[in-house]
């Protein structure tokens, strides 16, 4: 995009600024508008689950402007801060949560190469950044000068630190199969029929997906793991003392993280932007040489990806409105006694499976089977990558498309 | 066991601590002197053929008529009663005990009459006695934590006493 803009914008760096801004605005819209839609969706879903209608009036037929109306109401509300609160931390906390949740989108590809910054450690980057959301919660809980908030913060700290362990282990399983931590590469490897999705790669990945989803639900604080804001126990937990816009920012962060972990699940296990059938290939949209066609293909891919994410989020809602909440010690046992050992076992199982049955059972010549033949690690897929493997060794690979920072760094070093 | 025989039996055990009984009433009752209340209650609870293990209710009833003209017509002297409704789950029987107290201790207005607490016999008496204390103004001696329960802690007076005057103002809130 920056290259495209360079042709029109006089100072070359302005093109980068504009490109960066456009990307940022696009992404922030995913979070902000996404939160609006998800809150509306949550109301509708919960309404339907509970045998009622949900919002029906605001904005026409389905009450689809309800969240906007609520947002306006929240903006006009007084921004209260309790006496005795730690002012700076109290004000900062929602933004920390939001930034952490939002930063995860930096490395989340929405379609083939449609990504803010293609990092070659994207999986861990997203997990790490989403894990930082806990700081906002802890600081909010501490700074509120309320005992309920403090309880919420303590619970959150204990819960999130524990759940990062199985979550990381589960995320490693697809990484192990793909041989890359680059989400774009992982996504590309699963193209074709849905049998290429990693969730159907072997029985262990299938188990891993469920463990991943459980842990992801726990790490974004959704019921039945929403102990930090357990309203029947802790009033509202860490955000008891928040009101107005700051309160709603916590919610945007929550829905943003829900979308991000669902997106990660979609890419790691469900083929990302690849549909169940290789329709884009049949239609000839996978042709990367034709910009219009590949744009269309990617657009369909993005819709695919969005659908999977929304499905993941809806699933979380479904769970939330069905199950009672666990107790804090049960949450911890769930993590330490069940999720972690299962994740570790399926990690081991997936390792052995990929070692002994590298091509899988069903389709012996599927994509990743072929890739694994010659290359041990860092196998770029598709093998005919832009620049091809580096000369040094087969293992050394120069990435065809570097991340944003490296591009910037490299190009301008050249310029200087 | 007929009522008469039952009272005879109690009298044999407790002597003059059983001050009377009424069999004609809808719910026949036994009058107990305050001094012997706890003993009687424990006996009633523990005796294998009685087993009054369940305290249903403690009520305070204040007998007082502020209007002198009406008071003259009454066939009773002003007094306060504490009524204990007991029942026995295994025997499926029930019993009423009454303790008759003066309206004021030593007839000094303002000093609440006293009854020994039966919290040691039935734990449920704890809250019931607090409520009777709160609303009817009877002091239960030996109660572990005799505080007001329904009214605010700084409330003045005991509303279910017949001479209770509604306060005109409470923390700036007008009473009437």
């Amino acid at each position: 995009m920056a290259e495209f803009l360079q042709a029109y914008l006089a100072p070359w760096w302005l093109a980068y600024v504009v490109a960066a801004l456009v990307h940022a605005v696009l992404l922030i819209n995913v979070v902000a508008v996404g939160a609006l839609i998800f809150i509306w969706l949550e109301r509708k879903v919960s309404g339907r689950i509970q045998d009622r209608l949900g919002p029906t009036r605001v904005g026409g037929k389905f009450g689809w402007l309800q969240t906007l109306a609520d947002g306006l109401k929240l903006i006009t509300k007084e921004d209260l801060m309790p006496e005795g609160a730690d002012g700076m931390l109290f004000r900062m906390a929602p933004y920390i949560s939001f930034c952490a949740s939002f930063a995860g989108y930096l490395a989340l590809p929405f379609a083939d190469n449609w990504v803010g910054a293609r990092l070659n450690t994207a999986v861990f980057f997203i997990l790490a950044v989403l894990g930082l959301e806990v700081f906002g919660v802890i600081l909010a809980g501490y700074a509120s000068a309320s005992k309920w908030s403090l309880f919420g913060a303590m619970r959150e700290a204990a819960q999130v630190v524990s759940y990062e362990v199985p979550l990381g282990m589960c995320a490693v399983v697809p990484v192990l199969i793909a041989g890359s931590m680059d989400l774009v590469t992982i996504g590309q490897m699963q193209h074709g029929w849905f049998t290429n999705w990693f969730v159907f790669h072997d029985p262990f990945t299938f188990i891993t997906f469920w463990v991943y989803f459980t842990c992801a639900t726990a790490s974004v604080n959704r019921a039945p793991f929403d102990l930090a804001e357990a309203e029947s126990e802790l009033v509202a937990g860490f955000h008891t003392e928040y009101s107005g816009l700051r309160w709603s920012i916590f919610f945007m962060a929550e829905y943003g993280s829900m979308f991000a972990v669902s997106g990660l699940a979609a890419i790691l296990f469900f083929g990302g932007w690849n549909g169940p059938l290789p329709i884009t290939e049949w239609l000839g949209l996978a042709d990367t040489t034709n910009p219009v066609l590949s744009y269309l293909g990617n657009f369909i891919g993005m819709l695919n990806f969005m659908f999977k994410c929304v499905f993941g989020v809806t699933f979380m809602m479904w769970v939330r409105w069905t199950l009672p909440r666990l107790r804090i010690d049960q949450v911890m046992t769930t993590c330490l006694k069940y999720c972690t050992p299962i994740a570790a076992a399926s990690f081991l199982g997936a390792t052995l499976w990929t070692y002994f049955l590298p091509g899988g059972l069903i389709l012996p010549n599927n994509a990743y089977g072929l890739v694994r033949e010659g290359q041990l690690i860092d196998g770029p897929y598709p093998p005919a990558d832009a620049e091809g493997p580096s000369k040094e060794t087969a293992n050394e690979k120069t990435a065809g498309t570097g991340d944003l920072i490296s591009q910037v760094a490299g190009e301008h070093r050249g310029r200087d | 066991m007929s009522g008469q025989a039952f009272v005879e039996r109690l009298k044999k055990v407790f002597g003059d601590k059983i001050t009377g009984a009424n069999f004609a009433a809808i719910d026949p009752w036994v009058d107990v002197a305050p001094a012997g209340l706890v003993e009687v209650c424990r006996y009633l609870r523990d005796e294998p053929d009685l087993r009054f293990d369940f305290l249903n209710c403690i009520s305070g009833v204040d007998y007082f008529e502020p209007d002198a003209k009406k008071a003259a017509k009454n066939d009773w002297q002003p007094h306060t009663e504490v009524v204990y409704h007991l029942s026995s789950l295994p025997k499926k029987t029930s019993l009423v005990l009454k303790v008759i107290l003066p309206r004021w201790k030593n007839d000094k207005p303002g000093e609440l009459p006293e009854v020994p607490s039966v919290t040691g016999v039935w734990s449920t008496a704890d809250w019931h006695e607090r409520e009777v204390f709160d609303l009817s103004g009877v002091r239960f001696t030996g109660h572990p934590d005799l505080r007001r329960i329904l009214c605010p802690e700084d409330w003045v007076g005991h509303p279910l006493r017949k001479d209770y005057e509604m306060p005109l103002e409470y923390h700036g809130i007008r009473g009437r």
Binding site: P11, W12, W13, Y16, D86, M88, L89, L119, N120, T121, F124, F125, L127, A128, V129, G131, L132, V134, F135, I138, L139, Y142, A143, L150, A153, M154, A157, A158, V160, V161, E164, G168, G179, S180, M181, D182, I377, D378, E392, T393, N395, E396, K397, T398, A399, T401, G402, D403, I405, S406, Q407, V408, A409, G410, E411, H412, R413, G414, R415, D416 | -
Partner: protein
């Protein structure tokens, strides 16, 4: 005016954040604020790592250091932060002494950092995005894929990677795990009674 070097720009941004918040950690006496500033300082450091091309280390810094260690630390802060322990003032003498020694050390280190010409400005390098994660992993397992073309046989024999340190660290972590579990084992105490320190 020369064009802005974005790499330098981002470097400056993160470096200022890192240095500023490190200094803020020293300056503030409120332990909770300290923890907060430390978080930001370490987060900014991970940004520096990304800029230096060490993606994996940067992500690990965020995941383990900021996401794990610091949460633990803040947990500890919240458990002990009450009343007098939130804000413990250092005596003026200590401060002066610390500032003096620290200043001297800083001068020494800065002098050392700026002495070597080769370190000062980097040569323009081609845009290479490395995938470091797997090579790091291979190195940990004992294969130095980045030093395969080592000509000197003596040095090549030394390129056995980091298998031994890796094992040592693993055992160390296990020991730490057991040790902290021992230290943090449940203890019993009477309400209001003496603390059983056994």
């Amino acid at each position: 005016m020369d064009a802005i070097n974005w790499h330098s720009f981002f470097f400056l941004f993160f470096a200022l954040l890192a240095c500023g918040f490190s200094l803020a950690v020293v300056m503030t006496s409120n332990i909770v604020h300290m923890a907060f500033y430390l978080t930001l300082a370490l987060g900014a450091t991970s940004g520096l790592f990304f800029l230096a091309g060490a993606d994996f280390v940067g992500a690990m810094q965020l995941l383990i250091y900021v996401g794990g260690t610091l949460v633990l630390l803040i947990f500890g802060v919240m458990l002990t932060a009450k009343g007098p322990f939130i804000s413990m003032k250092t005596s003026a003498g200590d401060l002066v002494l610390g500032a003096g020694v620290g200043g001297a050390l800083l001068v020494l280190l800065l002098a050392a950092a700026t002495q070597v010409d080769a370190w000062r400005v980097s040569e323009p390098s081609p845009p290479v995005a490395q995938v470091t994660a797997s090579r790091l992993g291979m190195a940990l397992l004992g294969a130095r894929v980045d030093k395969l073309d080592e000509k000197d046989p003596v040095q090549a024999r030394g390129m056995s990677g980091y298998l031994l340190p890796f094992e040592i660290v693993s055992v160390h972590l296990l020991v730490v795990l057991i040790g902290s579990a021992y230290l943090a084992r449940p203890k019993k105490r009477m309400v209001g009674g003496p603390v059983d320190t056994a």
